[in-house]
Symmetry: C2
Subunit: 243 residues, 2 copies
């Protein structure tokens, strides 16, 4: 069965207090059971007011030290506030573990597509919660049973480039465990747990477009019934060989 | 524009010397300019005879030492032959840098979906070359200008689960550089290089299905004209903060 990846463009930017569910249903085809809506974290963050004006930020001594002439100490101050610890630093790049446990560049704090000059957009405080609220609102509005993924683009160890990655999820399976399943030749598959929410985020990122106003993508035709979270996709530091 | 992810199922397993281009055109809708075919590395490896019977393998002293009672020394011998170096080891898991430069578990040597009991499937020797040959054969057969991605599923640092990843590519852009581009608000995007070939592999993996015989996926409606390689997706060790 064909999987469809449908970009849902808006005519304007998202602002604080926007009701994402109504924006989505305004531009999406009628939603059906099993549809999955992937939304950029930036749309969620903006609607939740997760924006900081750097002009309001007083950098700490530690932020000045970490910035070390490579970056704006006010930006570093914001990043440090979003982080548990710094894993690596190279020039202006800080690879951190966020307060939510994600390993990512600059704690996801981003200047691009920010609403005002000299402002930055933070990650949602609780992306799984944001996904759950959006899912409830979509279901109330449409009567369809849907899944929601909140996506960001992230760098990886070992590989160039960023890819769409799930940072929030509700109403779908996020990790699909095929261990114990039997392949076409009748052999048992070895450990095979697929991060399907990340694959959905990557597929959606093909349609987001960084330059146009496409904050939502509808994925139709992919069955992922379940009740997973994006938090489950974060490897516990004790299990991680590369931290 | 909607992107379509179309699984192309076969009625049988792929065997050595199979002509993948004819298998694909037998089951695909007529190909069009810009179509992208994503093929599992396993289909490529089998057609290229990249299969080893463990019964034929004599483990070296080093393989016995590395196996350390956790795994089959014959399997470890095969993995070591495919690897430049071991980056991490935990129990039977070896995270290596392959001879081709990929960082992955067990050098991609895999027992599942192997054609014979006690045999293993290796990665293609030159996945970008395999992609280029398949692309030429498809273009000769159909007259359409297409892209080809050879995909494997790989684990990541920091995150649970495996995701579809491009290990070979031909006839498409693999990294899309948006630096210098201007966002919807007129601001310049910071470093934003998107690993679109990896996103295509991840999207296709949603349709592959580990259990059924779906070795090929058609991606239609995504424009990625260009001439990149999957080798470009491999971060040079000198630039890698996590190796």
């Amino acid at each position: 069965m064909t999987i469809e990846i449908v970009p849902l463009a808006l005519a304007r930017d998202i602002v604080e207090s926007d009701d994402l569910a109504s924006l989505i249903t305004d531009v999406a085809p009628p939603l059906r059971d099993g549809d999955i809506i992937v939304v950029t974290h930036k749309a969620v963050s903006k609607s939740e007011g997760r924006i900081v004006d750097l002009g309001d930020v007083q950098p700490s001594a530690r932020a000045v030290e970490v910035a070390a002439g490579h970056s704006d100490p006010r930006l570093v101050e914001v990043i440090l506030g979003e982080s548990r610890r710094i894993l690596r630093q190279r020039g202006p790049l800080l690879v951190v573990e966020t307060n939510g446990g994600l390993v990512c560049a600059n704690a996801g704090v981003d200047r691009s597509n920010a609403p005002r000059e000299d402002s930055v957009v933070l990650l949602p405080l609780d992306p799984d919660g944001s996904a759950a609220r959006l899912r409830s609102a979509l279901e109330a509005r449409t009567g369809a049973s849907v899944g929601v993924v909140v996506a960001d683009t992230m760098g990886r160890a070992w590989r160039e480039g960023i890819v769409g990655t799930a940072i929030g999820a509700s109403g779908l399976e996020t990790l699909r465990d095929l261990s114990g399943a039997v392949d076409a030749g009748g052999r048992r598959l070895q450990t095979t747990v697929v991060a399907i929410a990340d694959e959905l985020a990557a597929a959606a990122d093909l349609a987001f477009g960084k330059l146009e106003r496409v904050p939502f993508v509808l994925v139709r035709g992919y069955a992922a019934p379940g009740n997973g979270s994006a938090a489950q996709l974060i490897r516990h530091p004790d299990r991680d060989l590369f931290r």
